[in-house]
Symmetry: C2
DNA sequence: TTTTCTTTGATTTTCGAAATTTTGCGCGTA
DNA sequence: TACGCGCAAAATTTCGAAAATCAAAGAAAA
């Protein structure tokens, strides 16, 4: 039987992303050991690997726990996504060819199809898994031609944590019409190869997750007082 | 005896950053187990934790190895540093107060002092450790007031990998005069609270690590050919 | 009653060996 | 010679228990 480690890893990741564990709760090794019928060391390893991608937090001598949910964390994740995704999308515009445009169009088509079904049925929950995967693929394809594996990996890590925040909060599921429009706008910006427009579109799309605005840009040459 | 895990972690990190292990070489658990006189599992854990911060690479069923050094990797790390550090510095300008300015000035003073000594003595090697730490502190202070722990942690991870690349390559140590000027320019931009200038300064400072230029910005509305 | 110390129970960390998987080498065959 | 097969050695992964550490409850002192 091959690599049970990997299976446990995937399952645990799924459980974490779906928000099965209360935020901030301790991940007791003994409990998980029973769940998966394996040894404590194996659980420990898996938890270490999950901490690699920010899905669990580790503290020396006091174990592992699911990250705490907070407005601050959501803001930081959103901010980072904006930073990485605008950069990645613009680089893709510069470096990607027709092949990239084609893949992005395909991903958008799939996503769009699901979103239409969601809107017409009026019920999101049954299609949540499908939609979630389709949106992830669209956003990952968007930055896929950026030419930097590091940027893509970093984005993937942030994206999962972001999703972990949202899924349980079940926020922003009332925004489907906006979502559809915004995804379309991003695709259009890509096909027009308009970087400035792309930055605006991605920013607008993601900034909806901010409950308060980002700090505004200060005036240059200003006094340095408080 | 307290937390030997942590000690081994720190020592291994140091060995990795100093480039003791050839790039791409396998990190044999057995060898390290003897070095530290501990069990295989402990070594394994430490290696997992080091992979958390990108200092070693892990592949299922085929162990750990030091990351391979390559021009591409160096470019990607540089690019990411530019992205994170310009953003962090500009946010610090917006959000940081006099207290931040003060800390940055202090960090620069320390760094500047060492750089002057290096230049006058003409020999970098004996001060390499000191200089390296001082530069790290300057760059971390630069983004310290940005308000996002996530941004700072991500930057720290990238920074260490970046340093890992440089130390052994021993590139760019002939650039001390430029370094001194550029660090000064960054400090000035911060005290003037000029974000645009800051972007230029940070970019210039880091872009020296690129052997070929980043892709230029495409013209909007261009045809999508090629 | 409040504070500090101690004991006890629970959790985390470390260990060394067994089980599993990969890797390298030799052998036979086309 | 080139190619594939299978065996043996080496490396990785998993295990269950022992050792070390932390946290909570209770006792003693102020």
């Amino acid at each position: 039987m091959a690599a049970q480690d990997a299976d446990i890893f995937d399952d645990m990741r799924h459980r974490l992303i779906t928000g099965e564990f209360g935020y901030g709760t301790k991940l007791r090794a003994e409990k998980l050991r029973q769940d998966y019928n394996c040894s404590a060391s194996t659980v420990r390893e898996v938890l270490f690997r999950l901490s690699t991608v920010g899905l669990v937090e580790f503290q020396e001598q006091r174990g592992f726990r699911a990250p705490v949910q907070s407005v601050e964390r959501q803001h930081e994740l959103t901010h980072m996504r904006i930073l990485l995704e605008t950069e990645g999308a613009c680089l893709s515009i510069r470096m990607g060819g027709v092949e990239w445009e084609s893949r992005l169009t395909a991903a958008h088509h799939k996503l769009s199809h699901i979103e239409t079904r969601v809107r017409s049925s009026g019920d999101l929950i049954p299609l949540l898994g499908l939609w979630s995967r389709a949106e992830q693929e669209f956003h990952e394809t968007l930055i896929d031609a950026c030419g930097s594996g590091l940027l893509k990996r970093t984005h993937a890590v942030i994206y999962e944590q972001f999703r972990q925040q949202l899924v349980s909060a079940e926020t922003n599921y009332g925004y489907f019409p906006e979502n559809i429009r915004e995804h379309q706008a991003i695709l259009d910006a890509a096909l027009q190869r308009n970087e400035d427009l792309m930055r605006v579109c991605v920013n607008d799309h993601l900034a909806r997750n901010l409950t308060r605005p980002l700090p505004r840009k200060a005036q240059p040459e200003r006094s340095s007082a408080i």
